[in-house]
């Protein structure tokens, strides 16, 4: 099982961009700018997860009353920014609409700055009757137009797998699901299995391998399984597919020689898989070496039926396996305290967007949660930079996984300080 990242489709790939229209609008009003002003709402700086098409559409609708009742025009740009032009519109009315949009994203760091303060990155206001403001906004608009057209060009030229993966057309639906599920049972999966090490960084700077996660690369799987279908477009149906994937992975991993294996491995599984016959077969092959296997369970699966989780967890533990809860990130971690789940490990998925954007107070909150959960249980995954590691250490986390953790592990191995 693996979790799907959030993909945002980029709108208006062909034809005249909204940015071009925006520049045109500015040029038209240049000579008659009396009473004109503009507000640039920087939704492009939201967290990627909040920059979704339907979020932006809903946000844009907050201006509807304004557009209907006043001389106002709204542009929804291809980078998700909004630009509102107003002529003689009472600022209070605009404030009201902006406030609504702000409220929608109240959990996003972009709205954390106080409105109107110089820390506020949410909006920029331009009084277009002022030459300086006009010029500044024109420059900004032209810059955005250029960015939009280069983005458009890249998107249409880039036929690389990564791009097609993110953009892949047809969404998963019940009709194509059956065929894909069938194919999943037939394709070779063993060569898609990858591993990534989770490492414990000790106080003396030395490292120790915690476990090696064995997982199927979703990009590769998608390419082999259904290159034209976006497996991640529908989270429920994707979840259904992972149940089949689990069984395939188990049958491959069951071939490992657990007796002579020196490392601990981890596997992502659904709870239903843990309770299935396939897992029983797998367990026969693991035998007395269950302590060398960590089972990773997704938060969504755990909470879908907590009773089932408790049952599975206890069964796993009784037979010697360790349990890891996956699927949290630094933000959701502040909403749920996983300590009640009594797992052996809890994994937080890092993402760049958390760096520097999580204010000090919130890092403290995370640290409190880390302490409640147990420092020795926490693993920060997807660490891709030194910044991520520093953030983790600041929050009291000493276990890491991800590309950057791999780099560190390699360095440590070459220096002989990894155990």
């Amino acid at each position: 099982m693996a979790d799907a990242a959030n993909f945002t489709a980029i709108p208006n790939l062909h034809g005249t961009s909204e940015e071009t229209l925006l520049v045109g609008h500015l040029r038209r009003i240049q000579e008659h700018s009396a009473g004109q002003y503009a507000i640039h709402v920087h939704l492009s700086e939201l967290r990627p997860g909040n920059r979704q098409q339907n979020f932006i559409r809903i946000a844009a609708r907050a201006f509807e009353a304004l557009l209907a009742n006043f001389d106002a025009t709204l542009y929804v740009l291809s980078n998700h920014d909004l630009v509102l032009f107003c002529r003689d519109v009472p600022v209070d009315d605009v404030d009201q609409a902006i406030y609504k949009v702000r409220a929608l994203f109240s959990e996003d760091p972009l709205t954390f700055g106080d409105e109107g303060s110089f820390e506020d990155r949410f909006t920029t206001w331009y009084d277009l009757t002022q030459k300086a403001d006009f010029r500044a906004f024109m420059a900004e608009a032209i810059k955005m137009e250029a960015e939009a057209s280069s983005r458009q060009r890249i998107d249409s030229e880039d036929k690389s797998p990564a791009a097609s993966y993110a953009m892949a057309g047809t969404p998963l639906d019940p009709r194509n699901l059956a065929a894909i599920n069938q194919r999943m049972m037939e394709i070779n999966i063993a060569d898609l299995l990858r591993q990534q090490t989770a490492v414990t960084v000790q106080a003396d700077g030395k490292g120790e391998t915690l476990f090696r996660e064995h997982y199927v690369s979703m990009q590769d799987l998608q390419r082999r399984l259904a290159p034209n279908i976006n497996l991640f477009g529908n989270s429920w149906l994707f979840q259904y597919l992972t149940e089949t994937l689990d069984r395939r992975v188990l049958s491959v991993v069951a071939q490992f020689d657990f007796e002579s294996m020196t490392d601990v491995i981890s596997l992502n599984l659904n709870i239903s898989t843990v309770l299935s016959r396939e897992f029983q077969v797998f367990h026969r092959s693991v035998g007395m070496n269950a302590r060398k296997v960590v089972i990773e369970l997704q938060l969504i699966d755990v909470f879908a039926d907590l009773g089932m989780y408790v049952f599975a967890r206890d069964q796993l533990r009784d037979t010697g396996y360790q349990i890891l809860i996956d699927g949290l990130n630094p933000v959701s971690f502040q909403f749920f305290n996983p300590s009640l789940l009594d797992a052996d490990f809890v994994k937080l998925g890092w993402s760049k967007e958390f760096l520097g954007e999580v204010p000090k107070a919130r890092v403290d909150e995370v640290r409190d949660q880390v302490n409640i959960t147990g420092k020795n249980k926490m693993v920060l995954s997807r660490v891709d930079s030194e910044g991520a590691i520093l953030w983790g250490l600041q929050a009291g986390i000493h276990r890491f996984q991800g590309h950057y953790a791999d780099v560190i592990v390699e360095k440590m191995i070459s220096k002989g300080i990894v155990k």
């Binding site: 967290r47 997860g49 909040n50 979704q52 339907n54 979020f55 809903i58 609708r61 609504k100 409220a103 929608l104 994203f105 109240s106 959990e107 639906d173 019940p174 009709r175 699901l177 059956a178 599920n181 529908n234 989270s235 429920w236 149906l237 979840q239 259904y240 149940e243 239903s272 309770l275 299935s276 016959r277 938060l299 969504i300 755990v302 909470f303 879908a304 039926d305 907590l306 009773g307 089932m308 408790v310 049952f311 206890d314 699927g327 933000v331 959701s332 909403f335 749920f336 305290n337 996983p338 009640l340 789940l341």
Partner: protein, 425 residues
Amino acid sequence: MTEPATRLPSQEKLLLDYIHRLDQHKEGRKMVHLHLSALRPFNRREHHICAAAEDFEPFVAALDGQLFILKNADIFFIFKQEVQPSVETVVQQTRYLFSDDPLVLEEDDSDIQFSDWYDVETDYDKILHIVQDLISAASDQNRSFTNQMDTRSALKAKQEKGEPLTPEVLGRVESALTRTDLSNMVRRQYICSLSRRRVPETAFSELFISIADLRETLLPGINLMANRWLFQHLTETLDRRMLSMLSKTDTLTISGDISFNLNVGTLLSQEFQAFDDNITANRRGGMIIELQKVNIFANLGAYLFAREFIQAKGYRVCIDGLSYQSMAVIDRERLGADFVKLIWHSEMMDGGEEIHNHIRTMIRHAGEDRVVLCRVDNREAIDFGQSVGITMFQGRHIEHLIAEDNRRKELMRLKRRMERSSETP
């Protein structure tokens, strides 16, 4: 969290074995069934049940009878008919122990008696039935833990609930759904507060599409819930149908505040926008949108956005489907929900003082006027709920109380009318 029993509780199993063996020795045997499970919780503590059982010990010692104490506290005593008079005396004594309990006090007006007497020879089939029912109820309690994918359970589920839903069937159902009139499958259940004398007062009512009816009409023999994720996908289609029915006021009569279930994905869809455009602003304040907890864990960001979006428009939000275990992890206030729904399960009551205190603390934390105890099937659930501070209830038993209250009001009206007509010469 208590560890669930995976096998049948042994007393139940022993009783069933005994009844089976009794088939050969029915003559001259009698049975009494004491419904101690119907006592108030505070009368049903372990020492009460032990005290009640103790009185039967002399018969057991003299080999005149066999005693079984079930997990739900019911007592079964099978004895030789020679000792019937002494057994009757003992049952009278036991009854006296609980004379302050409504089970005894209100016995005359109730369907449930303190004790039921049987002649094993003539009532054998009936006895076997009762015992089998009790046992299947006891194992139902653990069903959520044992509905694993092993072949035996899968076969059993298939026999009881039908063939599991597959993607192919789901695809067909979803396209059939767009053409089917679902308005006659919409059910309504009331969420009520209760007065001291258990007179219900409606807070709001939930509208939902009956899955049982849907299955009956569209897919007899298919178990729609066999796979959680496929079912979840189906609910998104049902969401859209529900919205379209709610938009046409002639399809559903709506009075008072209402609630209905939607997925977060639906709230962010064009269909919801169209629905929202169609209803008047003041209706929004009377609508509570229920979100299944799995939606929150599937994508917290989307939940937070959607919640903000609909609350700003005036709708209220209720998180549905919590067990007492999952409620511990859900911080209602932090998640900004107006209400949460806690699903009743007798496990909560059977869990002992420690669990009770834990639940009481959770309710207080969530806000006593913010928690609805749902799937309330019996009075026990209400008693328990009130004992931990819950003030709102929903379920079959509440529907029963509402019907009863309506009957009572109707009688009062009749009585007044009669009085009036007798006053006028």
